[in-house]
């Protein structure tokens, strides 16, 4: 099955990013294809490479990069939401793509499922 993910909150402040990640890993383990992760609202904050949490904690943006490389999944961030929230190409992680809502429309329509995580 092809599954798209919509993530609407930033890292650390809400659990949404962690749940999305754990769900995506489990879906892939069950043989599904995660087609794309799309970030909206504060969700775009997930793809900043400047993230530098305490060493004993998870690094959420690095984790998305590894996820992206391991499974060939792009992490898309809405461009308008990104510009509001100080995310641009200079701070973008590997695997991150800043794009328009047309991309999201395509993700929402071509997948068998869309699962949303947020606050």
């Amino acid at each position: 099955m092809n599954i798209g993910i919509l993530l609407k909150e930033g890292p650390y402040n809400h659990q949404a990013s962690d749940t999305a990640y754990n769900f995506a890993e489990a879906a892939i383990k069950r043989g599904h294809r995660i087609d794309a992760v799309f970030l909206y609202n504060d969700g775009v904050l997930n793809v900043s490479k400047l993230m530098d949490p305490p060493q004993d904690d998870r690094n959420i943006s690095s984790r998305w990069t590894v996820f992206s490389q391991k499974y060939g999944v792009k992490i898309f961030a809405c461009i308008v939401a990104s510009k509001r929230r100080s995310i641009n190409e200079d701070v973008l992680i590997e695997g991150g793509v800043i794009t328009g809502l047309g991309t999201f429309t395509d993700i929402a329509t071509r997948n068998d499922r869309l699962v949303t995580f947020g606050d």
Partner: protein, 97 residues
């Protein structure tokens, strides 16, 4: 249709709102702080029992464990992330935020 709820029922009416729109038979999956709704012995036990007459109720085990909830309301099914995925295989998803 699978409905997910991620808010504690204390102080937030997302679960109540979800229930008002869910059709009979639609599964309800509680995740994140939403799992507090099925903590055995709390104020929402009877509400969950009422919901169970119309809708199967699931709760995400990793979220229950993270919150130290070992006793849950009778009739609620626990699932791990794999079980969450199985529910998504069977249903379109309505994520109540």
């Amino acid at each position: 249709m699978l409905h997910t709820v991620n808010k504690s029922p204390f102080g937030n009416d997302t679960l109540e709102t979800c229930i008002r729109f869910a059709l009979p038979g639609d599964p309800i999956l509680l995740i994140e702080d939403g799992v507090y709704a099925v903590q055995g012995g709390n104020r929402f036990a009877s509400m969950i029992e009422t919901i169970l007459k119309k809708n199967p109720v699931f709760a995400l085990q990793p979220d229950l464990s993270a919150r130290g909830i070992s006793v849950i309301t009778n009739g609620v099914t626990t699932v791990d992330y794999e079980g969450f995925v199985e529910l998504v295989e069977q249903h379109h998803v309505n994520s109540w935020l």
